[in-house]
């Protein structure tokens, strides 16, 4: 956890920023690769996925943080999973009820949030050790970092694969869509190039 801020406010700010950039779950920790690769063909499902993850992350972090003193060490992963699964199910039901199209587009990837390492990582690394406020801020930061990364990936891919953004045409008429970018290969290539870019910017060697 970052400690270079001043006082509580600085700590909150650091925690928030850590998730957004310094400890970005996708680019720096390489967590949550499954949704990163699977739902980034277009921005809309990526954004929906990101919101779901934020919701689950915040809820599970709250619950875990509240019961952190009651946890038995050898049963903690079980408790985390139980908590996460509950909120994922709720999110899934919500999507089905109010966003049926997105629910169909995301398919099995919403239930798969249960096994998203980011959430269990934050529960383990942050919520089970910290007070409520820090846990919530950490969840928001991590979730927002994840969402932004997903949207960035999806933005590039949707733009190139279909010439659209959020389903609306933005490219000039002469643009021919690169269908391959919408396929899994596009996900891998875009992610790889973005990782390379991020590593170049941060000067990380390997």
């Amino acid at each position: 956890m970052a400690t270079d801020g001043e006082g509580t406010a600085g700590l909150y700010k650091d925690t928030l920023l850590a998730g957004l950039w310094r400890e970005n779950p996708v680019f720096r920790l390489l967590l949550g690769m499954c949704p990163t690769l699977a739902v980034t063909a277009a921005v809309k499902p990526a954004l929906t996925m990101g919101c779901c993850v934020i919701f689950v992350l915040v809820c599970s972090n709250i619950v875990v943080s509240l019961m952190r003193n009651l946890l038995r060490p050898h049963l903690r992963i079980l408790m985390f999973t139980l908590t996460i699964a509950t909120f994922v199910t709720i999110a899934d039901l919500f999507l089905k009820a109010f966003q049926p199209e997105m629910s169909a587009a995301l398919g099995p990837y919403v239930p798969l949030i249960i096994v998203n390492c980011i959430i269990i990582c934050r529960a383990e690394a942050c919520a089970s050790k910290n007070a409520l406020a820090i846990s919530i801020i950490d969840a928001v930061g991590m979730g927002a970092g994840f969402t932004l990364t997903l949207c960035a990936l999806a933005g590039v891919r949707e733009l190139l694969a279909t010439g659209k953004l959020f389903g609306a045409s933005v490219m000039p008429d002469w643009f021919v869509p690169w269908a391959a970018m919408g396929m899994p290969v596009g996900a891998f290539v875009t992610l790889g190039l973005m990782l390379g870019l991020v590593n170049t910017i941060t000067g990380k060697k390997d």
Partner: protein
């Protein structure tokens, strides 16, 4: 006795949490279940209405119709009657499914009231290759099925897509997906037609 005590000491949180979370899911489910079912119905109806312009809504006519989908497997589907605003039967609609290039393809197939001509199909769910296989959702391909006879359809590599006959011109570059659609239609159409004739819902074509 000690063992039981130990067990509860260790796991009371788990048990309590399970109950709480179960309750939470139950509440969410109870609140949204109606909407979820309505959404599915709406999606189906929207596709039906899109294909049969006269139709206003649809209702279940026959339930659990068994269809042999090849290789000794059977699939159950329900046949729905498309109703116009004044309650007249203007066509029939049913879901059908089969394997496509990448995954299962689920279609809604509509026929006219006399079961003589196809009114078209709509894709409920598919996971075909973007840019190629998912062109089965495009009007170019779907229009070929509109007003096609309810006899065996044939897939052609080259031909005139505008003529309304049993010959369907394949999507170039996505022969497998095109073929899958034709196969699904052929499998379900014939069997359901004879099933309907048996039940006396429609005439025997004479």
């Amino acid at each position: 006795m000690d063992k039981v005590k130990y067990f509860f000491q260790q796991s009371w949180l788990l048990i309590v949490a399970s109950f709480c979370f179960g309750l939470l899911i139950a509440v969410a489910n109870a609140g949204w279940q109606g909407r979820i079912l309505q959404n599915e119905e709406d999606k189906f109806n929207n596709l039906v209405v899109e294909m049969i312009p006269d139709a206003n809504t649809s209702e279940v006519a026959l339930e659990n119709v068994e269809v042999e989908s090849g290789k000794g497997k059977t699939r159950a589907t329900s046949i729905r009657k498309a109703l116009s605003a004044d309650g007249q039967c203007v066509g029939w609609a049913f879901t059908c499914e089969g394997s496509g290039f990448a995954d299962k393809i689920k279609l809604v197939l509509t026929v006219d009231a006399g079961f003589e001509k196809l009114k078209g199909y709509g894709v409920l769910s598919s996971n075909e290759t973007p840019g190629f296989g998912d062109k089965i959702k495009d009007q170019f391909y779907r229009n070929q099925f509109v007003d096609a006879p309810t006899t065996e359809l044939v897939l052609m590599k080259l031909g005139a897509p505008d003529v309304k006959d049993a010959e369907i011109v394949a999507i170039s570059g996505a022969t497998v997906s095109s073929e899958a659609v034709v196969t699904i239609v052929n499998t379900f159409l014939g069997q359901i037609k004879s099933h309907m004739q048996e039940k006396g819902q429609i005439g025997d074509g004479n």
